[in-house]
Symmetry: C2
Subunit: 322 residues, 2 copies
């Protein structure tokens, strides 16, 4: 490492400021979310194969990316939705990241990886690329990834090393949005829940990786469904940037996420997946209504609905362009 | 679900019994572990690319699989070592699983996945395959996978549902082999460490998935470096099968893993990666000595060394064929 890189967390904050929109679009496709005419178009070639559905996912994702690229600062593809379809699915995930980046969006790879140190170092190629005996290859194209903390510091260090080298960032799971998150995360130790212990570790891991806007490249995932936790962590860790899932489909609204922001309206980004990418299913008679559209009409419906939903979320969150 | 499937945990136990060998070979390739002549052979086509190194990994893995298929019951490819090389690497991981299964080996995919329920359901395709609008596709080829518990029960249920449907199994991270595993896993709550709480959850998750040999399809990952933990968990959870990493290269020996076995010499499988797949580097002058071999000579060296090491480990572990 020669000099301190530009931190991508600063670019994320600046882009959210400029657009007045701290929304992240979760690119989490399922077959049901892709309009039938689009699916049928790809099934026509090879049948209902992983390859065909991957091609449909990619067409759908590109449509959404084009629709929101000047409305939101970032997208967050959830790799599980692609990995569901096997290795071809993983290639479609990578192609989605690549396309989003080519359109100027920041890419948060929701991969939730975590392992012991030597293995975590291999996963860190998501950020740092692969070194094949001196030849560098950008084998993935994420700006941030999500990471699981259960293995402790030596499983995190390869990722923070990659952040220091590249300026990229990670979001560590602290308090997740699901109903049973509390089973382990809320266990009380010495008067405080486990997630506070994890948050303190996150704060330590990221202390040396703070950008010019005052936020660390090592952030935390905290579910929007836990507004009290958000308020507590916001107060305790002023340098901690939050990735907040659970908005919309998982039940949290604008009031719930208010507590995650700092006094300047910064400090977090809020993810919405189905609420944006599936907005078209609420239009013109829902999924049934889209059955008789042409491929191009169906994609226009997806595009316009996603853009409207992303703009609506901007208004709901009540942030302002700077 | 119509009837109870045959549990693959029983096949794993039976195969370990028959072979008198509870060793799992960790298929965790790196460039340095593949003999230079083999690497050069593949680099000759395209240079030092992910594609070329993947092809070299696959050749090397197949050599090892052929060498140990009648010596050990199972292999454990660590997906991170492949994911390091991007989507092509993930395809090489899947091809490795496929080849090992075709040779009669059980395959433990060390993927350490974990997420909220709907997302975990997507990851569960590692066990259950993908359903594309009514068409089933076996997109992965693992018999077991490893899973991270940090998100709690609803993130585990999709995996246990897949186990119930297919007879396959999971190993949940309980106490990992790395030095900083204790940061979270050893935190004391009400007089006992967090990993005991996790182990109790694992026991609950697997209670309905117990096979004919008395062990559950929901097992636990416990590092060989923690023999005291092994003894404690063995006594507390008689139905819990352990996947034990950390043998050899990470410092644990035969004495350390004794405590993980039950009185009949069952109840766990012990993973060795570099000790077996890298055994050739300790032969004939090490890696340098292999530089001038032909591709075929180098692969013969890998093959014979791996087989010898797997047989040696069988003797070290002191188990007997039945």
């Amino acid at each position: 490492m020669t000099e301190k890189p530009a931190y991508i967390i600063d670019r994320l904050i600046d882009r959210a400021d400029t657009l007045g929109n701290p929304t992240v679009v979760g690119l989490d496709p399922t077959a049901a979310l892709v309009p039938l005419p689009v699916r049928e178009h790809y099934y026509n070639d090879t049948g209902r194969t992983p390859e065909a559905l991957c091609a449909a996912f990619l067409r759908y994702n590109k449509t959404i990316i084009d629709a929101v690229a000047d409305v939101v600062p970032a997208v967050k593809p959830q790799i599980a939705m692609y990995e569901y379809l096997g290795p071809e699915g993983v290639a479609a995930y990578a192609a989605t990241c690549e396309y989003a980046a080519s359109k100027g969006l920041l890419v948060i790879g929701d991969v939730k990886r975590g392992d012991i140190s030597s293995t975590a170092a291999a996963y860190a190629s998501h950020l740092a690329g692969a070194d094949i005996e001196g030849e560098h290859h950008d084998v993935w194209r994420e700006d941030f990834i999500t990471v699981n903390p259960y293995l402790g510091s030596d499983g995190i260090r390869p990722f923070t090393d990659a952040c220091a080298e590249t300026g990229k960032g990670i979001f560590v799971l602290v308090k997740t949005s699901n109903p049973s998150s509390g089973e382990l995360q809320d266990i009380v130790i010495d008067g405080e829940p486990l997630y506070m212990r994890v948050a303190r570790l996150v704060s330590e891991w990221g202390a040396a990786l703070t950008g010019e806007r005052g936020y660390s490249s090592v952030g935390a995932v905290v579910g929007a469904t836990h507004r009290d936790v958000g308020a507590k962590l916001r107060a305790a860790f002023p340098q901690m940037f939050f990735l907040v899932p659970g908005y919309g489909a998982q039940g949290a609204g604008a009031e719930d996420v208010r507590a995650f922001f700092d006094a300047d309206g910064r400090g977090c980004i809020v993810n919405s997946s189905r609420g944006i990418i599936g907005a078209w299913t609420k239009m013109k008679g829902g999924s049934d209504g889209a059955k008789n559209l042409s491929v191009s009409e169906a994609l226009t419906l997806v595009s316009e609905s996603a853009r409207d939903a992303a703009l609506r979320m901007k208004n709901e969150l009540g942030c302002h362009e700077r």
